[in-house]
């Protein structure tokens, strides 16, 4: 049996969408492959004096709508096919949000647990030295992803600027605030998700201000979802939260701020006052209006999907619902806001960061929130219309819309 190939899977998914859209063969052929890809060797002088060579990748899947945008992953099992699949995914995501960007992704095959801090810096700079002809705020803009972060982005930007001997803050996003990062990045994913919940509620007859909600996974986006739900939606009752160490439940409601503070102090939610212990499985099966899966992939599977009682699921995590579970939820008429819409607040604020870097004028947090709201609301409604128009679920509707926009851009440019 051949090994799982993420790019082949992405292509198959795209083929289905292109079939539904009735795209012509030349467009289909063009969209099935990345426009540009590079594999580089990055020699790094390790702390012990020896030189080790790492393999790096950068894929610009489609730049018909604008400069490629996508993170850089440092992963021990990174392959060109993974990077291709994720670069394609970024293309549809930026398109869905109507950002003037294309899709890209990069990666380095390495195990960050095997690298000291100094070696990480050398690797970040070494990567930029190899791919710098591809990068530019008007060509291809990387961002943090798996095992990369603000610090690594800062090193990359600095290396790029030192090659060109001029400032190019917008060459990467996800930078520290002091180096041109954007306000509002920290809670962008959750905030964007809540805006889509607000919009979805209007179509589902849910009053979010009175809704009971539960959060599965209490990392950055889970905590922010718990906090922002009442702030943005004017109320709501958080009744359960879980993290990797256990869950807590109180049918009368949990104070999100106090719980976040407790989590910061103790590293867990279990033990929070006035709550009962609850397992992850039990949390997913709770009778809530809105469920925010914000932890890992495959939280809702065909085994537990039938237990779900929530009316609305907002996928803050990547891939929390398996395709099999998705079918069950559809039959149960559970409305799912798909991940590439629900968690697109992050890439949207990345785009804002680029905008601010380009104008060299920086917005305050309120401005970021206002702009994010506008983008997310617009994207949700466009996706919702597509789902109605194509008579498919929201996930498929959003995907069709995104692919259609890219196809259109390619056509207008006269590429296909």
């Amino acid at each position: 049996m051949s090994e799982f190939n993420p790019f082949k899977m992405a292509q198959a998914q795209l083929d289905d969408a292109m079939e539904l859209l009735g795209l012509d063969d030349s467009t289909r052929t063009f969209l099935r492959q990345p426009m540009f890809e590079a594999t580089v060797s990055i020699p790094i002088r390790m702390d012990d004096g020896k030189v080790k060579t790492f393999r790096g990748y950068r894929v610009q899947y489609n730049t018909s709508r604008g400069p490629a945008k996508g993170g850089i992953r440092w992963h021990a099992e990174e392959t060109l096919d993974t990077v291709r699949a994720l670069a394609a995914w970024m293309t549809w995501k930026t398109s869905l949000l109507e950002l003037p960007l294309g899709g890209g992704k990069g990666g380095v095959t390495c195990d960050p647990k095997e690298l000291s801090e100094r070696e990480k810096e050398r690797l970040a700079r070494g990567y930029v030295r190899q791919v710098f002809p591809l990068l530019h705020e008007r060509k291809d803009v990387p961002a943090p992803d798996v095992y990369t972060n603000q610090q690594i982005m800062a090193w990359m930007m600095d290396e790029f600027e030192s090659i060109f001997r001029e400032h190019h803050r917008g060459v990467v996003t996800g930078k520290p605030l002091q180096l041109g990062g954007s306000q509002g990045r920290f809670d962008a994913t959750a905030r964007g998700g809540i805006y889509t919940v607000r919009e979805a509620s209007k179509h589902l007859n849910i009053a979010p201000a009175e809704a009971a909600y539960a959060v599965q996974g209490f990392g950055n986006s889970g905590q922010n979802a718990a906090l922002l739900h009442p702030k943005i939606l004017g109320g709501g009752k958080l009744i359960a939260v879980s993290d990797s160490r256990g869950g807590v439940y109180n049918k009368d409601g949990i104070d999100p701020e106090a719980l976040v503070h407790y989590k910061q102090r103790t590293g867990q939610v279990e033990g929070f006052e006035n709550t009962e212990v609850i397992s992850n499985e039990e949390l997913l099966a709770l009778d809530v209006d809105i469920l925010y899966p914000a932890a890992l992939e495959n939280a809702i599977t065909e085994e537990n999907a039938s237990e779900i009682k929530a009316k609305l699921i907002c996928e803050l995590a990547n891939g929390p619902v398996t395709p099999e579970a998705d079918k069950i939820l559809k039959d149960k008429q559970v409305f799912v806001i798909p991940d590439f819409l629900a968690n697109a607040g992050g890439v949207t604020v990345s785009y804002f960061e680029g905008v601010q870097n380009a104008t060299n004028y920086y917005w305050d947090e309120d401005e970021v929130h206002k702009q994010l709201d506008a983008k997310m609301t617009h994207a949700f409604n466009a996706a919702f219309d597509s789902h109605k128009r194509h008579k498919v679920d929201l996930r498929t509707g959003a995907y069709l819309l995104a692919v259609q926009r890219v196809a259109e851009a390619c056509k207008l440019r006269g590429w296909v």
């Binding site: 702390d47 012990d48 440092w74 195990d111 960050p112 647990k113 095997e114 690298l115 000291s116 801090e117 100094r118 943090p144 798996v146 095992y147 972060n149 603000q150 610090q151 520290p176 605030l177 990045r185 920290f186 990392g219 950055n220 879980s242 993290d243 990797s244 160490r245 256990g246 869950g247 503070h261 910061q264 102090r265 103790t266 590293g267 867990q268 279990e270 212990v277 397992s279 992850n280 499985e281 890992l296």
Partner: protein, 778 residues
């Protein structure tokens, strides 16, 4: 050629002669020894050889040296003659004159002092060789010796060795392995310090115990090596202020309170020990001391003032070469605040509690397993002011931890075993050595100190220390507090070396020295300590020096106020049996595979396992009463005793032995010591997370007892976890420990022989591939 006597003495020479004569007059009993010493010096310096002296005096009579030469030529012909009284006098006269001509007044004075010192050393040795000499008398003689004026010429170390050995034997340890190393490093003056700071009954004889022994020796080794290399240490090594309650005081306490009959407890079965211990503990706690001792303890407490204290066990067997007794006996922190009466009461209470711990089931089972039960174990106690700084209402060291000269936790192939590792925490070191819940000390591989076992900032935060163990001065107690609760509006020296500031996914060092963020944004990383100071290099050097001197891998406990480093303990590292590589079988059908593991696997093999004791996470999680959860732990303990002659393995959720019962089954060493493998199961959805506990006392117990440790992650791709086998095989708990049938639904005992006829259960572990498999085979 005969030595020629020269002209009459000059004025200076006459003065020198006078010095020598007055020296002899001052120490008449040493007259002969003084002359002998000068004779040797004249001979060895080539001023006048023994032959020349003899020729001059005896006119042709052969010297001993010549006679020996003759004897070598014809052993049976020549019989050496002895000196006559007349010759002796003549030799002395000649020596007197020659010395006066060739030695300065100061030199003569020094040599006389050297002879006197050697005599004193010899006297000490003679005294120390007496079988029943009291500690006080010996200590007094040591003190007198140390107050003698020091000659500018030191006694050769060989002259001191025998005396050191005798004294160390009396004061510190009678272990040959220890003596072999200690005699080279522990000076008489060090013993004097220990003796001065010790308390025990008059005319008693006892030692300061194993923990104190390790501490004294380690500090001396490092100091000696540092001096020899003239090494500058960034973190100055300070010897911890220490007071000793000698082992004879414990003996006295036992006799005085009529507790000796409890000694038989050690020969009873574990269940009886467990049942009786709480009562014994209470009886010990109410024991009394003689008025003399109470006075001494009171004076000691006054001397120490209101500084927080630690009352540490230091039994004779503790920190032994080969049996480390990690954390078996009690050590108690005292805030030492309040009225003198109250402080004294708590002080005495702590001492009694440490005494009682000699009969705790854990050390007794531990001793039984190592054939140490018949040894007349005695408890000495080490009393030390806690190292640290005041910070608001709290008192704690900036950092503490445990360090190993060999690293058994290597998450990267770049990490070398022989470079050692550190497991450290901010605050008191209890968090580094105990298995605490939901908290993680920083682990530093000394090969590559900045290498981390976590890849992302989120993981670094998740696996970081969130709580500090501190002394709360206001509440007068030992406390565990969240880091986030500290208020950094007052400065704390060198805090910037310990914490980093977290801005979303940016983990950055503190800029400058002042921490510019609230506590909730801080993460304990020790990043600056590792990157900007020579701490890691210094620890590496200390571990290597100790390992080389001890002749075996060692582990140490240390603490620091940020500027000075204190070595609190040092002992030979627990040894794990090294297995050759085991290759996993490849053709085991799926249904015969029971579980597999892919993390922290060491080489090893368990064949023909008789029983699997399995606590399913789903059942354990359902228990809502603390009592039932505790009973599960006790059932495990009972099974451990019943199945002691069988091969059994333990499987269950989370962190076994954690202090948080919700994170894993509560057990102690004596509940699991007979198992062959401890397997921690981490179902992703249940939230149980096994901790890499390398370096905790718990883990050291597993290592020493040759218990394999395996964490299982059944939900990760490619891992096997045969729930059907584990849940559907018949449960034999009721037959083996009928008293615990009430916890049958939480504890499953699978008797392999009753499950699959003829099939055997094996567990193979391939450390090189980091893969383990338990499987059934015909």
């Amino acid at each position: 050629m005969a030595f020629k006597q020269s002209k009459a003495l000059t004025k200076e020479e006459r003065t020198a002669r006078g010095t020598l004569l007055s020296g002899i007059k001052q120490f008449p009993s040493l007259e002969n020894k003084i002359f002998q010493q000068f004779l040797i010096m004249l001979h060895s310096r080539g001023i006048i050889s023994i032959d020349e002296i003899y020729e001059t005096i005896a006119h042709g009579k052969k010297s001993t040296l010549q006679s020996l030469n003759l004897r070598r030529r014809a052993d049976n012909i020549y019989i050496p003659s002895r000196w006559s009284e007349r010759e002796r006098k003549a030799i002395q006269k000649l020596v007197l004159k020659t010395v006066a001509m060739h030695f300065s007044e100061e030199e003569i004075d020094d040599i006389i002092k050297l002879v006197v010192r050697r005599e004193e050393v010899q006297n000490l040795e003679d005294l120390a060789r007496l079988p029943n000499v009291s500690f006080d008398l010996l200590a007094q003689k040591v003190s007198e010796f140390c107050s003698l004026p020091k000659p500018s010429i030191s006694l050769p170390i060989s002259d001191l060795m025998a005396t050191r050995v005798c004294l160390i034997h009396h004061f510190i340890s009678d272990q040959l392995d220890y003596l072999g190393v200690a005699k080279k490093y522990i000076r008489i003056i060090d013993l004097n310090k220990a003796a001065e700071n010790s308390i025990g009954p008059r005319r008693g004889a006892g030692r300061v115990g194993g923990k104190a022994a390790g501490m004294i020796l380690a500090n001396r080794i490092i100091e000696t090596e540092r001096e020899a290399l003239q090494k500058q240490l960034e973190f100055r090594l300070r010897f911890p202020i220490s007071y000793h309650l000698r082992s004879d005081l414990y003996l006295d306490f036992v006799k005085r309170n009529d507790l000796s009959h409890y000694y038989d407890l050690k020969y009873k079965d574990v269940e009886t020990i467990q049942t009786e211990y709480p009562v014994i503990q209470e009886i010990f706690k109410n024991g009394s001391f003689s008025d003399d001792i109470l006075d001494e303890l009171k004076q000691l407490l006054r001397k120490l003032g209101k500084r927080p204290l630690i009352v540490r066990s230091s039994s004779l067997l503790e920190d032994n070469f080969g049996a480390a007794f990690c954390g078996k006996y009690r050590s108690i922190y005292l805030a030492n605040q309040g009225t003198e009466k109250k402080r004294f009461e708590q002080f005495i209470g702590a001492i009694c509690a440490v005494y009682a711990s000699i009969l705790h089931p854990d050390p007794l089972v531990y001793r039984r397993a190592r054939n140490l039960l018949d040894y007349d174990e005695m408890m000495a106690i080490l009393i030390q002011p806690v190292v640290g700084n005041y910070f608001g209402d709290f008192f704690f060291p900036l950092f503490s931890g445990v360090a190993y000269s060999r690293n058994e936790y290597r998450w990267s192939s770049r990490i070398k075993k022989e470079d050692g590792m550190i497991r450290m925490v901010m605050g008191l070191g209890t968090r580094a050595v105990d298995r605490v819940s939901s908290d993680y000390p920083r682990i530093i591989a000394l090969t590559e100190p900045t290498l981390r076992s976590q890849g992302s900032v989120a993981d670094i935060l998740k696996y970081s220390q969130r709580y500090l163990d501190v002394i709360n001065i206001k509440q007068k107690r030992f406390e565990t507090i969240p880091l986030a609760d500290l208020r950094f509006d007052q400065p704390m020296a060198h805090l910037d070396r310990v914490v980093s500031v977290c801005d979303e996914d940016l983990l950055r060092p503190v800029i400058g020295k002042h921490v510019d963020a609230e506590a909730t944004r801080l993460c304990i990383t020790f990043d600056k300590l590792i990157s900007n100071t020579s701490f890691a290099e210094q620890m590496h050097w200390i571990l290597k020096s100790l390992e080389t001197t001890y002749g075996c891998p060692v582990d140490i406990e240390f603490t620091s106020n940020g500027e000075e480093l204190y070595l609190l303990q040092c002992r030979p590292m627990s040894k794990q049996i090294e297995w050759d590589r085991v290759t996993l079988p490849t053709s085991i059908p799926k249904e015969r595979q029971i579980f597999s593991a892919t993390k922290e696997v060491r080489n090893g093999k368990l064949e023909d396992i008789d029983y699997v004791i399995y606590v399913p996470a789903t059942s354990y999680d359902r228990i809502d009463s603390l009592k039932t959860k505790e009973r599960v732990g006790r059932a495990i303990g009972a099974l451990n005793q019943k199945l002691h002659s069988s091969t059994f393995i333990l499987m269950g959720p989370g962190r076994w032995g954690s202090n948080d019962i919700n994170l894993g089954v509560r057990i102690t060493y004596n509940d699991i010591n007979n198992t062959r493998a401890l397997i921690e199961v981490a179902h992703m959805k249940d939230g149980y997370v096994p901790e890499v506990s390398f370096g905790t006392h718990f883990f050291q117990d597993l290592v020493e007892s040759n218990i394999f440790y395996l964490p299982l992650y059944p939900d990760e791709d490619g891992n096997v976890f045969n729930t059907d086998f584990l849940m559907k095989s018949p449960n034999s708990l009721r037959e083996i420990v009928p008293n615990f049938s009430d916890v049958e639904e939480f504890v499953r005992v699978i008797d392999i022989r009753k499950t699959k006829t003829g099939q055997k259960l094996h567990l193979y572990m391939d450390g090189e591939k980091n893969a383990a498999l338990a499987f059934l085979q015909d």
